[in-house]
């Protein structure tokens, strides 16, 4: 009997200890937090929003420089790093698409929208919750816009009836059961979603709460919507939303206007933060500096050579890989401040003479590699509106808008006697000159169903036809391989 009690007590203690051990081997991550609690606090949601901006910062070179290089606004400096040679040559697999990053962003925005809709955030005011959702909707629309313009044709502009869009994922992946194997929605469905997200964002956002242009605002959502309508040839929709943006005046407490003087324009590019023309910009702090991965490192010479002659092979912090083709330089009037001040040169690099570089990205405050990149700016919106006016035959209004851009740069105003066709052509040219190196060129050509002319020295075969399969990016092979529902773009 005694021994039975003994064994029983051993068994009981043993049983207890087994239970206790379950706790003894618990650990909690310190540098990470469990997903179940991450988004229950306002600070958590705010941090997740931050990480989306940071993710865009990570793909800024491909968003800003590739659309220029894939078209005819930038070319490679030969015998240099040749890092972006494939983009210049439009080699297969080097399109504008950022599939993985954008879907990672979309999942984060879905998490934010879900947290607001479910009321999961315990310590947030209703006003702040609205802003979170509005910001997330903008960011989701931006990612879908970035995807749809890279992977799909615009509705009505398809080649061989290829209407595939991209998969619309509107709910978050919270656990492995949420992972789906989606098919591609049609391009029209994706554009409809983008417009609906932006419209909802406009209703939720305001132009006062965020304090800096580094965050999106109501005006930013309107500006992006203006661009979406423009790409879809919805001229009558472009005009009112553009006008609202241009009338905003201050965004997040910071002055916002279309500069009317050349000095003002140059000042915009030289300002560290909250640039006067910016509606929304991506901010880089010193610690987030991209350094040798920055726009400046690729597009300019730094430090600047003391003389322009090509002797030796001086050491530079920047790569200076991407310079401006002569064909583009020749389009500017000789007196145009965008040529005389926003372009620098001639410099030489590795035996190549007469290289001209943009200095729109000259390193904020003289700090090498520190970009603060304007994503949406008033001049673009003004040009959107000018084009919409011209397309709808409101020539006086169109002329007024486009001449603001020309005259301030020091080029002669367009004469009021132009025909509608001539004016449209002039506005499109002005758009190329004004928005050069800002990530527009490739997409503008495609929305106009134009072939892609190639600058001198790159493609022996001349233009890339609008029907060429390389106008659409390839969906990453890894995704095609594991998702049978996902169709690859033609030609890949």
């Amino acid at each position: 009997m005694k021994s039975i009690t003994k064994y029983l007590s051993v068994a009981v203690i043993g049983g207890l200890s087994l239970g206790a051990c379950n706790k003894a081997i618990q650990t909690e991550p310190v540098q990470s937090i469990d997903a179940n609690i991450a988004l229950t606090k306002s600070s958590g949601v705010n941090s997740l929003v931050n990480s989306v901006y940071a993710a865009y910062r990570g793909i800024v070179t491909s968003n800003v420089l590739w659309p220029e290089l894939l078209a005819d606004n930038l070319i490679n400096t030969i015998n240099n790093n040749n890092t972006y040679r494939n983009q210049e040559l439009n080699n297969q697999g080097f399109g504008t698409g950022n599939w993985t990053t954008n879907y990672s962003i979309i999942n984060r925005t879905n998490l934010i929208i879900d947290a607001v809709d479910q009321g999961a955030i315990t310590d947030v005011t209703e006003a702040r919750a609205k802003l979170y959702k509005g910001e997330a909707l903008f960011l989701r629309a931006w990612s879908y816009f970035s995807l749809i313009t890279s992977y799909s044709y615009q509705p009505g502009k398809e080649v061989s009836g290829w209407t595939e869009g991209v998969p619309l994922i509107l709910t978050p992946t919270k656990s492995v059961v949420d992972v789906s194997y989606p098919t591609r929605n049609t391009n029209a469905e994706v554009y409809a979603q983008i417009k609906s997200d932006l419209t909802e964002a406009i209703a939720l956002l305001d132009n006062t709460s965020r304090g800096e242009k580094s965050y999106v605002s109501k005006a930013a959502a309107q500006a992006l919507l203006s661009r979406v309508h423009l790409y879809l040839d919805e001229w009558n929709e472009v005009i009112p939303v553009s006008t609202e943006v241009l009338n905003t005046g201050t965004i997040n407490g910071k002055l916002t206007r279309v500069e009317t003087t050349g000095t003002g324009l140059v000042q915009h590019w030289r300002t560290f933060k909250d640039k006067s023309e910016s509606i929304f910009e991506l901010t880089f702090t010193t610690a987030e500096n991209l350094g040798t991965g920055s726009l400046q490192a690729w597009t300019t010479i730094f430090p600047k050579p003391v003389n322009a002659t090509c002797t030796g092979n001086p050491t530079r912090a920047s790569f200076a890989d991407l310079h401006i083709p002569t064909s583009l330089l020749n389009l500017y009037d000789a007196t145009d401040i965008r040529l005389t001040t926003l372009v620098e040169g001639p410099y030489c690099k590795l035996g190549q003479n007469n290289l001209y570089f943009t200095n729109k990205y000259s390193g904020t405050g003289g700090t090498f590699g520190l970009d603060n990149v304007t994503i949406l700016r008033t001049s673009e919106i003004l040009l959107n509106r000018a084009e919409a006016y011209a397309r709808t035959n409101q020539l006086t209004e169109a002329l007024a808008d486009v001449n603001v851009i020309r005259v301030r740069a020091g080029s002669p105003a367009i004469d009021a006697t132009v025909t509608q066709t001539q004016l449209i052509e002039a506005i499109l040219l002005e758009r190329r000159l004004e928005l050069a190196f800002e990530g527009h060129r490739w997409f503008d050509l495609i929305r106009l169903k134009q072939d892609i002319p190639k600058a001198e020295g790159s493609l022996a075969s001349g233009s890339l036809l609008y029907t060429d399969y390389r106008l659409l990016s390839a969906i990453p092979t890894a995704d095609i391989d594991i998702n049978d529902n996902l169709k690859q773009n033609p030609g890949y």
Partner: protein, 1000 residues
């Protein structure tokens, strides 16, 4: 927390019994010449307690009325059993043992004699590895044990090694064994983050090690969830009671490179570049003779016409980055003690300069091992190792600062210095920094301070029943300093940059074990144990970076104008396990051994925290059977079979959790990013190992050895399953897939000639085969894993040589026809499996010759059947696509005119039109990495002189030692052994040392 642990341990309390009436048994033990043997172990049959003989060979031990016999054991002598009668004093002589069967092998939580082992184990003793000029013991055991593959990751002094026991059992989880250093559970590998490599085991002095035992099969199952890749048990030296013995050892020597890759000289280089540019121009319809030269950049770079190429001076960069690196090693040991307390103490200093400039290793180290008997029931032991290690390393990448890489990459026309004596910069060829400047100016220093210690106590509750409690600590603190000098190109962009990286790991564990053994009569012998173990590892890091230094004289962060980045991290894991082991021997013929472990780990999903790991082994000592007992030829014959389940939990500490990580700050405000998708059902990878083995010794132990055949099936692979990235995630860690490893191991030792002149041979060899059985659906994972194929295959378009008509490179397409542009996707994918990165076999071969006081040891080691990418040659045989230096063979064998049959294409600047670039990986870049290496030759001489014995000093031993003497291989790069590829990696060196050791 502490409460929970004590509850966990509560399982282990047992209650005792009474003791029978006692008697004293005394005696004396001598060797066969009558000299007293000190330190022999005397034990009474059926009792746990044992005694040691004193310096006169005398012993006395407590038995009881029922005691039948005493057993006397002494390493190196045959075990002897004396039947007790009415006497109380027994004298006996021990006979020197001709075999190692009485050596003890440390198995999980206990020691066993080799003759009683049921599992597959391999062991290395101190003698085999002593005085080797290596910084860590894992390098010394290379090629010594069947089934244990050791590969150096690089040749950096103090660098890491990769150890694979019985193949590679996992795709995504860890493949390294568990190390137990005097009971301290340690994970190998490297903890440093900035300097290219370091080795967590380099804090131990290899000469302190008494034995290394490796558990290769189910015998490892008692270590449960950490045992799937085998267990390496390291035991350090202990003192023996008696007069204090001192040992002094000093050695010095040097290291030099093992190989120089033949490269072009300046005239050849210029000719190749010129032809490359000319071919390019010709292709575009230009006139090559003028165009290639008038090309402004050719003129700007080389400023020579072809008739002057012969005058160009050659700068041998490969020679410029190497040197003769000197090394010193000094050790002092003291050991001794009395009946109650024994100790072993050692101090050592090791300085090792690498054969590559600016690289060294310096270690200072102490060890204190103490064993104390408080009374007849209670024993204490402490093991403490303290070390401080400082390494200066060089960058081992293929960037400008990569010293080894730049040595072969920089064109030979590039001078080292300008006319004014300053370093010439920028360097031509695509890597702009002058590596001599980088190596001289930059700092890449790591200091690692480590404490490995344990404190244990053993209490004899009743005879045969003991309780052992031990606490272990492995504490590592590493500070790495990196400084990018403002005078270098990299540093000039931001006026210098300094990084300080602190890494700290606290790894503590405890074992609580109850041991029981009982012999019931002559026939039945039981022993068993139950225990509990707990391990907690916390790793923290703290980094700071600053830029903007006044000048190069300021190298620490307080001088930085801009505090640039700070970062810190913390992660931890915990493991708790219950285990039991039962051993039953019947008539010393049949041995049955079973273990069971129940293990829990913090790393796994909440539904799968704990798992069971059983094993069962059986051994039949055939030579104990009557039909063999009287056959003198057979000294040992043992048949073994074992089966067991072990686990592999070598994954990220929080791989099972869906988490948000604090990264992605924006505009100066912190961000969080979803960092992974979790799985609540994530659990161990399971290894089921089946082993059949035979141990034998014949002809008076002149020939002995073991043969083992094994199969290791891995199921529930911890595999990173690809997800559609539309989910926002790229992959998730799940238990899917299966693979197997199987092989044959052979270990043979022979004494070929015995007598004054003695020649003995040790040979081991392992044949291995692996197969991926299931990847959870897809038949392929990346390009290295295919269902039905071995692990880590190489999947590339096979090289078809050069088209004799055009001089352009060919590859075979999917249909086996030569093509310039092999496809790498779709139905016509030209890639196929051309080999595997894992050796099919490996082994070692040692011959030891001794004559009088002279001993010579010659050791070969090798591996066979694997391929490796010659990643340096990939950059050096682009035939002018990169204007880097080229290997001499790329120049000499280049195609020059139609009809030339060769494997080196014609020079061409850039990529030939509509052609796969020579600067892209293909089958062309892979080479057979089989090799046989004369790894070590050592010559020792014991100075027998009256002078020393009169001075009370034992005979000093002088020795000469050389390592990596020569290598037979088809591999054309630096070193076929380096794991993965030797791109920019620090090759191993050839080391020659001379030393002397005294004992007094």
């Amino acid at each position: 927390m502490r409460k929970m642990l004590s509850l966990c341990m509560a399982l282990l309390f047992f209650v005792g019994y009474a003791v029978a009436q006692s008697r004293v048994i005394a005696g004396k033990v001598t060797d066969d010449k009558g000299a007293p043997l000190q330190g022999a172990t005397v034990s009474v049959k059926g009792k746990r307690a044992s005694a040691f003989t004193n310096k006169d060979g005398n012993f006395s031990i407590l038995g009881d009325a029922n005691s039948e016999s005493i057993t006397i054991t002494y390493t190196g002598y045959e075990e002897q059993t004396i039947r007790l009668d009415t006497r109380s004093y027994y004298e006996t002589k021990l006979v020197a043992s001709a075999s190692d069967l009485d050596e003890v092998v440390v198995t999980g939580y206990s020691v066993q004699k080799k003759r009683e082992i049921t599992g597959a184990t391999s062991s290395v003793r101190a003698k085999e590895i002593e005085h080797m000029p290596v910084q860590s013991f894992d390098k010394a055991i290379q090629g010594r044990m069947a089934g244990v593959q050791v590969q150096n990751n690089n040749g950096t002094p103090g660098g890491g090694v990769t150890i694979r026991i019985r193949g590679t059992g996992s795709i995504n989880a860890d493949n390294s064994p568990l190390y137990i250093v005097d009971g301290v559970q340690m994970t190998g590998g490297t903890l440093t983050r900035s300097i290219p490599t370091s080795n967590t085991l380099a804090g131990l002095n290899p000469n302190d090690i008494e034995s290394i035992d490796v558990l290769k099969d189910a015998s490892a199952a008692i270590y449960g969830a950490q045992a799937a890749n085998g267990v390496v048990i390291i035991t350090t030296k202990k003192g023996k009671s008696g007069k204090t013995k001192f040992g002094l050892n000093y050695q010095a020597g040097y290291t030099e490179r093992i190989r120089k890759v033949p490269m072009t000289e300046s005239p050849e280089f210029l000719q190749l570049v010129y032809e490359a540019r000319a071919n390019n121009v010709l292709n575009a319809g230009g006139d090559p003779a003028t165009a290639a030269l008038t090309n402004s950049s050719f003129q700007g770079l080389y400023n020579l016409t072809p008739d002057k190429f012969g005058e160009a001076v050659t700068y041998d960069w490969q020679d410029a980055v190497v040197r003769r690196g000197y090394n010193h090693n000094a050790e002092l040991t003291a050991s001794g003690g009395n009946e109650q307390t024994t100790f072993y103490m050692s101090a050592s200093y090791n300085k090792f300069d690498g054969q590559i400039i600016a690289s060294d290793f310096e270690r200072g180290q102490f060890r204190i091992n103490i064993d104390h008997k408080a009374n007849s029931r209670l024993k204490f032991d402490a093991r403490i190792n303290l070390s401080t290690t400082t390494q200066n390393a060089v960058q081992s990448s293929n960037s400008s600062g990569g010293v080894v890489f730049s040595g072969i990459f920089v064109p030979p026309v590039q001078p080292f210095y300008n006319a004014d004596g300053d370093y010439a910069e920028p360097v031509i060829g695509g890597r702009t920094s002058n590596v001599l400047k980088v190596a001289a100016y930059d700092i890449n220093k790591g200091t690692s301070n480590q404490l490995i210690g344990s404190l244990g106590g053993t209490y004899t509750i009743i005879p045969n029943l003991t309780f052992r409690s031990v606490y272990n600590l492995d504490y590592t603190d590493i500070l790495e300093s990196r400084y990018v000098d403002p005078r270098t190109i990299a540093g000039s962009a931001f006026a210098g940059q300094a990084n300080a990286l602190n890494t700290r790991q606290v790894n503590w564990s405890t074992d609580q074990v109850v041991n029981y053994s009982k012999q019931f009569n002559d026939d039945h012998n039981f022993s068993g144990l139950v225990g509990f173990t707990y391990r907690n590892v916390v790793s923290t890091t703290f980094d700071a970076q600053g830029r903007g230094f006044p000048n190069e004289l300021f190298t620490t962060l307080q001088s930085a104008a801009t505090p640039f980045a700070v970062n810190s991290s913390e992660t931890s894991f915990r493991l708790a396990g219950y285990f039991t082991k039962l051993n039953y021997t019947f008539r010393d013929r049949y041995i049955l051994n079973g273990t069971l472990r129940y293990d829990g780990s913090s790393r796994f999903g909440k539904n799968e925290k704990f798992g069971w790991f059983p094993s069962l082994a059986f051994a039949w000592k055939v030579n104990q059977e009557n039909f063999l007992k009287n056959i003198d030829v057979v000294n040992d014959l043992k048949f073994r079979v074992s089966y067991g389940v072990t686990g592999n939990g070598g994954i990220d500490n929080f791989a099972s959790r869906t988490l948000f990580t604090g990264t992605g700050s924006y505009n100066g405000i912190g961000g969080v990013t979803p960092s992974g998708l979790g799985d609540d059902n994530l659990k161990w990878e399971e290894n089921k190992t089946f082993n059949v083995g035979l141990d034998f010794a014949i002809l008076k132990n002149r020939i002995s050895g073991a043969v083992d055949v094994f199969r290791r099936n891995t199921t529930n692979l911890l595999l990173s399953r690809q997800l559609p990235t539309t989910s926002g995630f790229a992959s998730i860690m799940q238990n899917i897939g299966k693979l197997k490893n199987e092989g044959v191991e052979l270990q043979i030792s022979t004494i070929n000639i015995d007598g004054k002149f003695r020649w003995s041979t040790d040979f081991n060899f392992t044949w291995l085969r692996s197969e991926v059985l299931d990847l959870g659906g897809p038949d392929r994972l990346g390009t290295n894993y295919f269902v039905g194929q071995p692990m880590q295959v190489i999947f590339q378009a096979d090289y078809a040589g050069v088209n004799p008509a055009t001089g352009r490179a060919f590859w075979y397409d999917a249909n086996g026809n030569p093509t310039y542009q092999p496809l790498t996707s779709g139905d016509q994918d030209a890639r196929k499996i051309i080999g595997t990165a894992l050796p099919k076999s490996y082994g070692g071969f040692t011959n030891t010759f001794s004559y009088k006081n002279l001993e010579l040891m010659v050791f070969f080691q090798g591996q066979f059947g694997n391929m490796v990418i010659n990643n340096n040659a990939f950059f050096l045989e682009t035939q002018g696509a990169f204007e880097a230096n080229h290997t001499l063979r790329a120049y000499e064998r280049r195609w020059q005119k139609p009809g030339d049959v060769t494997d080196m294409p014609r020079p061409y600047a850039g990529t030939e039109p509509r052609h796969r670039g020579l600067n892209q990986f293909t089958g062309r870049n892979y080479e057979d990495a089989s090799y046989i290496r004369l790894k070590q030759v050592s010559l020792g001489y014991t100075v027998q002189s009256g002078f020393f014995s009169r001075a009370g000093i034992g005979a000093p031993k002088v020795y000469l030692q050389a390592t990596n003497i020569f290598t037979i291989t088809g591999y054309t790069g630096y070193d076929p052994e380096l794991v993965g590829s030797d791109l920019g990696a620090f090759p191993q060196g050839r080391t020659l040392t001379a030393g002397v050791s005294f004992n007094f």
